[in-house]
């Protein structure tokens, strides 16, 4: 099966550090929730820029539906209909002082008729749980609201794939909850999402698959498997999610992904009363 988007032996970087990524291969299948993990400066954002068509790799290829990405102006315009990236800092993306106007930028750029633009703006704000903000001033929004509006701006392009850089960073618990609900609505509406994050517990709970950026390369696999790999975690300067650390410490051969599963694991477990919980 051809992947929705694929990086094939990509080498990329910037003048000061030409090989931030050195031979990275990554497959994004339609419909997956992919968590991109890695320390600060490991190259997560560089990889996302390559995938988004904003940074041309020094070597290697990016393929969309099996077709190599055309790096011409026209090819990139086409690419951005399918792949949209949302940066970590919402202020780096919101250029209009009026929320609805800002969200309308992408669709207007596509040259769509005004009525369709209006419909897309409404719909994407609704998906992000931000419809009540449409007429507000960008500079009156809270940080969490600005993050959701910036995401709505990408969603209004109706991309197949959304690349989100740290969508929950800097949010308070309520903000994180709202963002997660929005992501669930987007997935339900058919979007494929790649999320770069530092939050290993969030990644484990949300994602199907993970890609860990480490030593300028990427390891891809099921999220619970990669995050249970102590060696990889250490090399990538990450941290094991507490649920996995707890299961491992108790000698349980399970991989609970969140609090509920951890509780279930422990209540399943405890009646047995055995100390060697490994016997499952």
């Amino acid at each position: 099966m051809t992947a929705l988007l694929q990086a094939d032996h990509v080498v990329a970087g910037h003048p000061g550090r030409p090989r931030v990524l050195d031979g990275v291969t990554l497959h994004i299948e339609r419909g997956t929730r992919l968590a991109l993990l890695g320390a600060n400066g490991s190259g997560k954002t560089t990889l996302m820029s390559v995938l988004a068509g904003s940074l041309e790799p020094a070597s290697g290829r990016v393929l969309r539906e099996g077709e190599p990405l055309d790096w011409s102006r026209k090819g990139l315009r086409e690419h951005r209909r399918h792949v949209q990236m949302v940066l970590q800092d919402p202020d780096a993306q919101l250029f209009s002082a009026d929320v609805a106007q800002d969200v309308s930028f992408g669709p207007m750029n596509l040259g769509l008729p005004v009525d369709e633009v209006r419909e897309r703006v409404d719909q994407s704000l609704r998906l992000l749980g931000a419809d009540h903000l449409a007429e507000r001033a960008t500079h009156h929004l809270s940080y969490g609201e600005r993050k959701r509006v910036a995401t709505a701006g990408a969603v209004a392009m109706r991309p197949d794939l959304l690349l989100l850089d740290e969508p929950t960073a800097g949010l308070d618990p309520a903000g994180v909850r709202q963002m997660r609900e929005a992501l669930d609505r987007l997935t339900a509406a058919g979007a494929t999402i790649l999320m770069a994050t530092h939050d290993v517990a969030l990644a484990l709970d949300w994602a199907d698959e993970a890609a860990v950026v480490c030593d300028a390369a990427v390891r891809q696999g099921p999220v619970d498997e990669l995050l249970a790999d102590s060696g990889l975690i250490a090399r990538a300067h990450l941290e094991k999610p507490w649920t996995l650390a707890l299961a491992a410490a108790l000698g349980l051969d399970r991989r609970p992904r969140n609090l509920e599963q951890a509780i279930a694991m422990l209540t399943d477990e405890r009646p047995a009363g055995a100390h060697d919980g490994a016997a499952r």
Partner: protein, 267 residues
């Protein structure tokens, strides 16, 4: 500076929250500029006073702007008008024969006091008329409205970006100033309240704000290219319903002011 930045926000906040936000910009411009021109062109008495009354009625009554917002906004121009008025009031040079009061080269007479009063009344009524627009119409709406006059698009985009960056950089500026205050940047130890260091610190603060602003602009540029920005920043025009009633009221008020002013001078 802190207070002043709140001052920046005060008029802007009022405009965004104004019940007139949904009115067509053209109608508000008609109202505001109609009053401004009346203030300038109609006979000073009672024209300017009537314009002031009408503007305040529109702002506080119809647009429901809070009194303290208007009062705060008017404080700066008021200082200018009082100062300007006083300097016009005091004539310098040979004392005119009809002077009421004189002291050396200074004198106050009917000519200078009429001039001073004219300056003050024109300024008050003119500024209040502009406030009709300023307190009800966010800058973005105004810039979007200007599109229909075929102002070249890049110029409006620059103005729009300036407005957006204003608040982003204002945030940065307040943080830099606060961080400096925390470490005694505004209040160093030294002769004359640490004058020498205060200068260095002010320059460092302004320089840091400039550099951070520059970086922010660079990042916004990058963010916009991610969003597919190539040449233009087209966005959706906002739909607003026309209100013939509002136009009629505006024209009626202005006509009434003219009638009263001209009638007043004729009689």
């Amino acid at each position: 500076m802190n207070n002043h930045s709140h001052h920046i926000n005060a008029l802007d906040d009022a405009a965004w929250d104004s019940p007139w936000r949904r009115r067509r910009v053209g109608e508000k411009v008609l109202c505001s500029m109609g009053l401004v021109l009346t203030a300038l062109l109609a006979p000073v008495w009672p024209g300017t006073v009537l314009v002031s009354v009408a503007a305040v009625a529109f702002i506080l009554g119809s647009a429901r702007i809070r009194l303290h917002v208007l009062a705060e906004a008017m404080s700066a121009p008021l200082v200018f008008l009082v100062l300007g008025g006083v300097s016009v009031l005091l004539a310098v040079g040979r004392t005119p024969t009809d002077a009421w009061w004189s002291l050396g080269a200074l004198s106050i007479g009917p000519t200078s006091s009429v001039q001073a009063l004219r300056l003050f009344l024109h300024g008050m009524s003119g500024t209040l008329s502009v406030m009709v627009l300023a307190t009800t119409t966010p800058m973005v709406d105004l810039l979007t409205w200007l599109r229909r006059f075929h102002v070249p698009e890049p110029l409006l985009e620059i103005a729009n970006l300036t407005y957006r960056l204003l608040f982003v950089i204002l945030d940065t500026m307040l943080t830099v100033m606060e961080a400096q205050r925390c470490r005694l940047g505004d209040n160093p130890v030294g002769p004359m309240h640490g004058l020498r260091r205060r200068w260095d610190n002010t320059a460092a603060a302004i320089g840091a704000i400039g550099i951070l602003a520059w970086e922010r602009a660079g990042r916004l540029n990058e963010g916009m290219s991610h969003r597919g920005f190539e040449t233009t920043l087209a966005t959706l025009p906002v739909r607003r319903r026309a209100s013939p009633r509002f136009i009629v009221i505006t024209l009626a008020v202005i006509a009434a002011i003219w009638a009263l002013s001209l009638g007043g001078t004729a009689s």
